[in-house]
């Protein structure tokens, strides 16, 4: 029997993914361990790896295909001796499995049928369900993902109107998290309204009294999953998290000195350390969080969760979007360990290969735009974290030091805090501690 290649599910909430790239062409032979394709999810690009030997018989969804439901057939591998006809038959059976445009969708794992009045269909469906079971079994044997993949077999029962379903499909809205307001909890169009910009359905060419050209654009860029995630999360944050901001100027002389010392260490020629200012700032923030544990917390709607370990998320900008990998237990790691980990994260982020484990969690974030010559900025909190520190460039200013005018290197910090978690005084104390450890790195030895 041919082997199906399905859109993988990486998390229980993932419902759709995009085919980023096929690495094999139709007809290519496939060996166990070969990477067949790359699949883009809402956060990362995953590789689909084969166990079986055979050849790629058919690509159903090509490079760039978007919004493909989890467990949809995206390609087929034929085993030795299997003909084109076998493949066709196999695909046909698979597609029967998933009828499109179901008005009242009831997805249940329970395969027992309750329809008794239509005996013919009964038999057909029983057969189909038998096949479904087989496929489900094969699925786990045939294709393994480089990341341990969890198929969601939870029992889902969804009721949605045909129009709402169509709009959800068109607009790529995840209906699993929507509470229906129609009869018996049915999801109807108005339940999706908060997700839809009415303008999208308006055909501008047909708008009457079109007077100006202000709405014209040159290109329309479809949103990647990453872009969508950033948009939803940050919009939600700005709208629901009560931010307040504290500013501080920090003398950078000591960080600069420390960095030079660390980077000139000649302990081990092969493992020569090159740490960045940011790595030192991460460590300083870690210490500050240790001293102000109220800030090492996340918002949990009806409670505040506090943590003993310090997990810090660090914003990494790539062409594909913003990522925030998390340095776990940063409090237990040395500056050089943090530095090494950050370098790996940056590399992975640029190649779109960060895994959910790399970016989930964290109690606090750091965003540093100093390298882009940004003097000072305020950042948006990544919920449910307690806050985010926005780090600006290193700049020089005149100060009177011991009665003499001197240039001193400075950094501006802006701390955004979720007021639900901490009040001004706590946050001020926290910012003061960050300043202290940045200006007195030796304090971190204490």
């Amino acid at each position: 029997m041919p082997v199906s290649i399905l859109m993988p599910s990486l998390s229980p909430t993932m419902t759709e993914g995009n085919v980023a790239k096929w690495l094999k062409k139709v007809g290519d032979s496939i060996k166990s361990g070969d990477i067949i394709a790359e699949v883009e999810t809402d956060k990362a690009t995953m590789e689909v790896e084969a166990i079986d030997e055979g050849s790629l018989a058919k690509i159903i969804h090509n490079d760039g295909a978007e919004n493909i439901a989890v467990n949809t057939l995206i390609g087929v591998i034929s085993l030795e001796g299997e003909t084109e006809k076998d493949i066709e038959l196999f695909i046909e059976n698979q597609s029967k499995d998933k009828p499109e445009a179901i008005a009242e969708e009831e997805i249940e794992n329970d395969t027992k049928l309750t329809v008794e009045t239509i005996p013919e269909n009964n038999i057909d469906e029983e057969k189909l369900n038998e096949e479904k079971r087989q496929i489900a079994q094969n699925k786990s044997n045939d294709i393994r993902l480089t990341n341990e993949n969890s198929y969601s077999h939870e029992k889902i029962k969804l009721s949605i109107s045909p129009l709402a379903k169509r709009i959800a499909d068109l607009k790529n809205i995840d209906i699993n998290n929507i509470q229906g307001s129609g009869p018996r909890g049915r999801i109807i169009k108005r339940d999706l309204d908060p997700f839809i910009d009415e303008i999208e359905f308006i055909d501008e060419g047909k708008l009457q009294n079109k007077t100006s050209t202000e709405r014209q654009f040159s290109t329309k860029v479809p949103l990647t999953n990453i872009r969508k995630t950033i948009a939803t999360r940050l919009q939600q944050s700005k709208q629901t998290v009560p931010h307040f901001y504290l500013k501080s100027k920090v003398c950078a002389e000591e960080i600069i000195k420390s960095r030079t010392i660390i980077n000139n260490l000649d302990l081990n020629e092969e493992n020569k350390i090159k740490v960045s200012y940011n790595d030192i700032i991460i460590k300083a923030v870690t210490f500050a969080l240790k001293h102000v544990p109220q800030m090492n917390a996340t918002w949990n709607d009806d409670s505040i969760l506090k943590y003993s370990l310090v997990d810090i998320a660090v914003a990494v900008a790539t062409d594909n979007g913003l990522f925030t990998p998390v340095i776990r237990s940063a409090c237990k790691k040395s500056i050089s360990q943090i530095s090494t980990e950050m370098k790996q994260f940056i590399l992975k982020a640029k190649e779109n290969k960060l895994l959910p484990d790399d970016y989930n969690g964290g109690t606090f974030s750091i965003s540093n735009l100093g390298m882009y010559n940004v003097h000072e900025f305020s950042a948006i909190i990544n919920p449910p974290q307690s806050g985010i520190l926005a780090v600006g460039e290193i700049y020089e200013e005149f100060q009177i030091v011991e009665d003499k005018p001197m240039t001193v290197k400075m950094i501006n910090l802006v701390l955004s805090v979720d007021h639900r978690i901490a009040d001004g005084a706590t946050a001020a104390n926290f910012l003061d501690k960050i300043k202290f450890f940045m200006e007195n790195p030796l304090g971190m030895l204490a």
């Binding site: 045909p162 129009l163 169509r166 307001s181 108005r190 308006i202 047909k206 009457q208």
Partner: protein, 465 residues
């Protein structure tokens, strides 16, 4: 004065009030209805129902006149207006009695008399015999509306110009009748009197007859009724009506400016209706009245706490089914059963010959909203059932949103289309898309197959055209 206490008092027993009362009784409210005149209101007594009875007579008379088409010979068929009206009144009476029965069955208290709300939000009910005081936790005003009078300067004849009350029970069939206004009421009476042999002229200020309908519908109906002998004067303003032995209508063409005189035996003013907001003591409350309508918010709530208003007294569209629907949701709201408001999509019907039925957006409005639409149209001349009935006049027009397949509107003209529009009401309510209509099996041979074909046509897939 006798005092009586209730959970809910409803002023008016029309399709808004009586339905609200039954609903309230069903959920165990102690409810009283106050009615000034006829149980069932205008709808049952002087509106929807008796006019449909009249139109049935004219329809059958039309069949008789066209009997040769069906291979039948009927000679000397002629209308007997007295018996036509008697039948219409009997039907109305029967239904009104039916409501009396429903009230008894549901233990609804009924008080005849005029209601007036005082400063303490108590209702004083006055009739020729007594004055009663009704005290209720909540009040629903469902007093309906009355015909608007013509707004003509120096007009001396308004009292002799018919409203629908007089038109519904004429002593004889007028040889000529001028109808001012081409909404549902004007068009239905035009159709009725035309069938019975009157020479009918219809005056409309706007560019098209049935101005609220889709343009295709208005144009089609105008052509169809013109063929039957009705004269239409659109873009026409009535500047004066004089009465000699007959009525002389002086009309001005709003486009050319030319003025014409027309001579009629009777004139019917069907220029709309205005809410019955007077003499209810609303000045004693915070209820806001604007343009003779009670201003309402969600579920009929007014600016005065515990006073609600539903149906025609709250403004257009003036439709019985709207009033009933509002009545039920208002009661459910008072009882705390429903909390979130739904947008109403209200079908509307005109019982001319051919009939008109519509729901949702017209093509013009959909375009003006900037929507990306697909329009389908299927003529009844391509429908087998319509042909077999010799009723091939008309069409089914459907309007869909192009991307989502949402049904935005449906506009039908033809035989019994008023019985077809509910399919669209249901489909829109259930949020069906074009695909759902495509995959529905419509029975053959029926006029309803045209719904299927029209939807298919919108997406260039029609089978029979």
């Amino acid at each position: 004065m006798i005092e009586q206490k209730y959970d809910l008092a409803i002023i008016g027993s029309g399709p808004g009030g009586y339905v609200a009362a039954i609903k309230a009784a069903q959920i165990n409210m102690n409810v009283v209805v106050i009615e000034k005149k006829d149980l069932g209101g205008i709808c049952l007594n002087w509106g929807c129902i008796p006019t449909k009875a009249l139109l049935r007579s004219s329809e059958i008379y039309d069949f008789m006149k066209n009997s040769s088409t069906f291979g039948l010979k009927i000679k000397n068929a002629e209308p007997d207006i007295n018996n036509i009206i008697k039948r219409s009144r009997d039907v109305a009476k029967k239904l009104s009695n039916g409501i009396d029965f429903l009230f008894k069955k549901n233990n609804i208290n009924l008080i005849y008399g005029s209601a007036k709300i005082n400063k303490n939000k108590e209702i004083e009910v006055k009739n020729s015999k007594s004055i009663k005081k009704v005290i209720a936790k909540n009040i629903i005003i469902a007093t309906g509306a009355s015909p608007k009078k013509l707004n003509i300067e120096n007009n001396h004849v308004n009292s002799k110009v018919w409203s629908y009350f007089e038109a519904m029970a004429p002593k004889k069939i007028p040889k000529t009748i001028g109808i001012i206004g081409s909404g549902a009421i004007g068009i239905e009476f035009a159709s009725f009197f035309n069938s019975l042999g009157s020479n009918v002229s219809v005056f409309e200020m706007q560019q098209e007859i049935l101005p609220n309908e889709d343009n295709d519908v208005s144009e089609f109906l105008r052509k169809s009724l013109s063929k039957k002998g009705i004269s239409f004067y659109t873009n026409s303003n009535i500047i004066d009506i004089k009465e000699n032995k007959t009525f002389i209508i002086k009309s001005k063409d709003l486009k050319s400016g030319s003025i014409e005189n027309h001579d009629f035996e009777n004139v019917l003013a069907a220029v709309g209706i205005r809410g019955n907001t007077e003499n209810l003591g609303l000045e004693n409350t915070k209820v806001t009245i604007k343009n003779n309508q009670i201003v309402t918010h969600d579920f009929g709530s007014t600016d005065e706490e515990n006073i609600y208003a539903i149906g025609d007294v709250t403004g257009a569209p003036w439709l019985a089914h709207k009033a009933s629907h509002e009545g039920i949701s208002c009661v459910e709201y008072i009882a705390g059963i429903i909390k979130s408001r739904e947008k109403m999509v209200i079908p509307s019907c005109v019982y001319s010959n051919p009939q008109v039925a519509s729901i949702g957006l017209t093509e013009k409005i959909a375009i003006s909203k900037g929507l990306n639409i697909k329009v389908g149209k299927f003529p009844l001349s391509a429908n087998g059932k319509a042909l077999s009935l010799s009723e091939s006049e008309g069409f089914v027009k459907t309007i869909f949103e192009a991307n989502t397949g949402q049904i935005l509107g449906a506009h039908l003209v033809g035989v019994e289309v008023t019985e077809l529009i509910n399919s669209f009401a249901l489909a829109i309510k259930l949020e069906a898309t074009e695909v759902d209509i495509f995959s529905t099996i419509f029975p053959h041979p029926t006029i309803s197959e045209s719904i299927h074909e029209s939807a298919l046509d919108a997406f260039d897939r029609a089978i029979h055209i």
